[in-house]
């Protein structure tokens, strides 16, 4: 019975999502970005193993600052590198940041949120204390401080964003679990003598899965935006073509009328973030029955 209900929930949500044209457009955009990210990552790994210079790192000073043409659709940068190839590589970095920070933040948030909501009492007090402490930290500055302490590079970014953004999902999960705790299926599972861990992670968690999915979709663009910001400051990615680094180098050239690198990179960031934001909103509307009038 549980399975049937589950399927109909997801099926329902999909039907509702399909009707929303904007959401479907965003979904295809997200799929396109995902394909580009996988392509970029494969290209990077391939050249890394073969120890060759990938096309997006090829410099050609004769070709520096060329406007978009049939050969370089998005022009070239100051070292004659193809902007489009670097842009695609930037997608894979953005995805890595979005996914890895989620893999850090979501398990922490879900775990603490679940145990706080389910056990209550002292455990709850501890978790509430922990997240109020983290929530008090001044966001961006705290991320910067973590990145500074850990050292320049992607690791600092992963930890900085991952360790600061679990609070939101922890709060949400705690609230959801408290709501579910009193429901009959949980009481039945308790009456059957199942262990707390099993009840939380096998029975309650699947029923609050939609919260996790929506949170993932909405925090993904935020993480990407923060990475762009950190790399722009020179704290993040060092030698790979990250969007933040590209914006930083394009910014100097903008004053000389080199508009293409800036335009295309900001457009890419905008489209990625917009697609995820709109998709997240649509998913929430489709998955959260409370919002259906």
């Amino acid at each position: 019975m549980n399975m049937e209900r589950n399927q109909s929930l997801w099926g329902d949500a999909w039907q509702r999502l399909k009707k929303n044209r904007i959401a479907m457009a965003c979904l295809s955009l997200v799929v396109l970005f995902t394909v580009l990210a996988v392509y970029g990552e494969v290209l990077y790994r391939y050249h890394d193993i073969k120890d060759t210079t990938p096309a997006y790192q090829n410099t050609d000073l004769d070709m520096a600052f060329k406007a978009p043409s049939s050969k370089h659709w998005m022009g070239t940068d100051g070292l004659g590198r193809d902007v489009m190839a670097r842009l695609v590589q930037g997608v894979s970095i953005a995805y890595k940041v979005g996914i890895i920070t989620s893999l850090i933040a979501i398990p922490i948030g879900v775990f603490f949120g679940c145990i706080a909501g389910y056990f209550g009492g002292k455990v709850d007090d501890f978790v509430v204390w922990l997240y109020s402490t983290f929530a008090s930290m001044p966001g961006l500055l705290f991320i910067l401080a973590i990145a500074m302490v850990v050292g320049k590079g992607l690791l600092g970014i992963y930890l900085g964003i991952g360790l600061t953004t679990w609070v939101g999902i922890c709060r949400l999960m705690r609230g959801e679990v408290i709501k579910h705790k009193g429901q009959t299926y949980v009481l039945a599972a308790q009456a059957l003598g199942l262990s707390s861990g099993r009840i939380i992670f096998r029975h309650i968690l699947p029923n609050v899965m939609h919260v996790i999915i929506v949170t993932f979709t909405l925090r993904f663009p935020a993480a990407v935006g923060t990475e762009v910001f950190l790399s722009f400051l020179g704290i993040g990615v060092q030698d790979q073509p990250s969007w933040g680094l590209m914006i930083n180098s394009a910014r100097m050239r903008l004053w000389q009328g080199i508009w293409w690198e800036m335009t295309f990179v900001t457009l890419a960031v905008f489209l990625l973030v917009l697609a995820f934001n709109l998709l997240g909103d649509a998913l929430r509307d489709a998955l959260d029955p409370r919002l259906n009038d």
Partner: protein
């Protein structure tokens, strides 16, 4: 009421402790070698030691009777000779993972003059015969000994006719009071109101903060108030035209505004409005005119999420019974919205507004550094880039404490506005 306020203050204390602990853990425990982060690895050991001394970093972390000293860094001889390679009297043998001191030699592995007021302790695993810190060592088989000496004594080696083989060597400073730790030092420092000294600017951090607060506030307060007024007005427009083209357009517009990266607002604003069209000065902090563009950018960049938030608040209220009653008895739509709904939506609005106050103080990191406004954001970015630990830590800590305090203020405002809150 007083009882409620006292209760809330008491509940606030654990968070304050948590914030202090968290900054301590981040910088002292996770950070590890702060001197290396702040000054790089190319400075002398002695200046690193004085950096540590000044900040209490040469003490044990939480509790302990022994502390490391930079005068001699622990080396694992099974991985190589390390710094011993440079000392001509010592011969390294990878086979026995040990160094051998030649007969009739004398030298000291201690890098600089030790603090004469402290006691130190060598822990040595050795074979052969020789003298260390004035104490005779002699043993045929491998043996470990602890040798205690005072900082003013010579702590070096000397050998007579025999060789001395060393497998392990550790130098520790003896801590007189085991509770005299980094944590205690940090807490005491905060109690005194001392936020440390900036390594790169050579000024007390509290002075830097005091200098930066005004420029920051002159930027963030206008952004804040203009932002609140504009976004509440637009959200009321949304609620008024609910489910029409105007509402949907505003929602899409705010999502689009949210999706534009903050950097883009700044770069584009500075380039197009200030440089191309010359409507504003490009850079500097001289008169109010210089603030106009950063304020405009700040307002626009925050508009998207604010409109969405306030719109949700307004629409939540729209479904309440009192609104239906008001409509039923024939009150006009504008009057319901601007008088009834707005008044009742005040509580979530106040929360959102008060919670944003601590962020006013850090200013806007990027706006300030792009437009050359010498505020705390500018200070913060520079401190991050030059790894100025004390400044970063003070900014993080004060930001967090302000947040905790404004949380408290919000709750008290709540209780004043709505007496039911106290009962929860």
């Amino acid at each position: 009421m007083l009882k409620y306020i006292l209760k809330r203050i008491l509940q606030m204390l654990p968070t304050v402790v948590g914030v202090i602990l968290l900054t301590f853990v981040l910088f002292n425990v996770v950070g590890g070698d702060l001197a290396a982060i702040a000054m790089g690895k190319k400075v002398s050991l002695q200046s690193m030691e004085s950096f540590d001394e000044q900040r209490g970093l040469n003490k044990p972390l939480f509790f302990g009777t022994r502390a490391k000293s930079r005068a001699y860094e622990d080396q694992d001889f099974s991985e190589g000779a390390g710094r011993w390679r440079t000392w001509s009297n010592a011969v390294y043998s990878a086979e026995s993972a040990a160094v051998m001191l030649q007969p009739k030699s004398a030298f000291s592995p201690i890098a600089f003059k030790l603090n004469p007021d402290n006691d130190f302790e060598w822990t040595i695993s050795f074979r052969g015969a020789g003298t260390l810190a004035g104490r005779e060592l002699a043993s045929k088989d491998w043996k470990t000994e602890k040798i205690r000496f005072q900082g003013m004594e010579d702590g070096g080696f000397s050998t007579e006719k025999d060789t001395l083989e060393i497998r392990r060597l550790k130098l520790r400073r003896v801590v007189k009071n085991p509770f005299d730790s980094q944590l205690l030092y940090y807490v005491k420092q905060l109690m005194r109101g001392d936020l440390g000294t900036s390594e790169s600017l050579h000024q007390p951090v509290s002075k830097l903060l005091a200098d930066g607060i005004l420029p920051s506030l002159s930027l963030t307060i206008p952004i804040f108030f203009i932002g609140v007024v504009v976004s509440i007005s637009l959200s009321l427009v949304c609620a008024f035209f609910r489910d029409t083209f105007i509402d949907r357009f505003l929602v899409m517009f705010s999502v689009a505004l949210m999706s534009i990266n903050y950097l883009v607002y700044i770069v584009a604003g500075q380039y197009i409005l200030a440089y191309k069209h010359g409507m504003f000065p490009v850079w500097g902090y001289e008169s109010a005119r210089y603030l106009a563009l950063p304020v405009l950018i700040g307002v626009v960049s925050g508009l998207g999420s604010n409109i969405r938030f306030y719109r949700t608040v307004m629409l939540d209220e729209m479904y309440k019974d009192y609104v239906r009653t008001a409509f039923a008895k024939g009150v006009s739509k504008p009057r319901v919205l601007f008088v009834h709904v707005l008044k009742n939506a005040m509580i979530p609005i106040i929360t959102n507004v008060v919670i944003a106050i601590p962020f006013l103080y850090t200013g806007s990191l990027l706006l300030e550094s792009f437009f050359g406004i010498p505020g705390l954001g500018y200070l913060g970015i520079n401190a991050i880039l030059s790894s100025d630990i004390d400044v970063v830590r003070a900014l993080v800590l004060i930001g967090a404490l302000l947040f905790v305090v404004s949380n408290l203020l919000t709750d008290i405002c709540y209780a004043v506005a709505d007496p039911r809150v106290k009962l929860k």
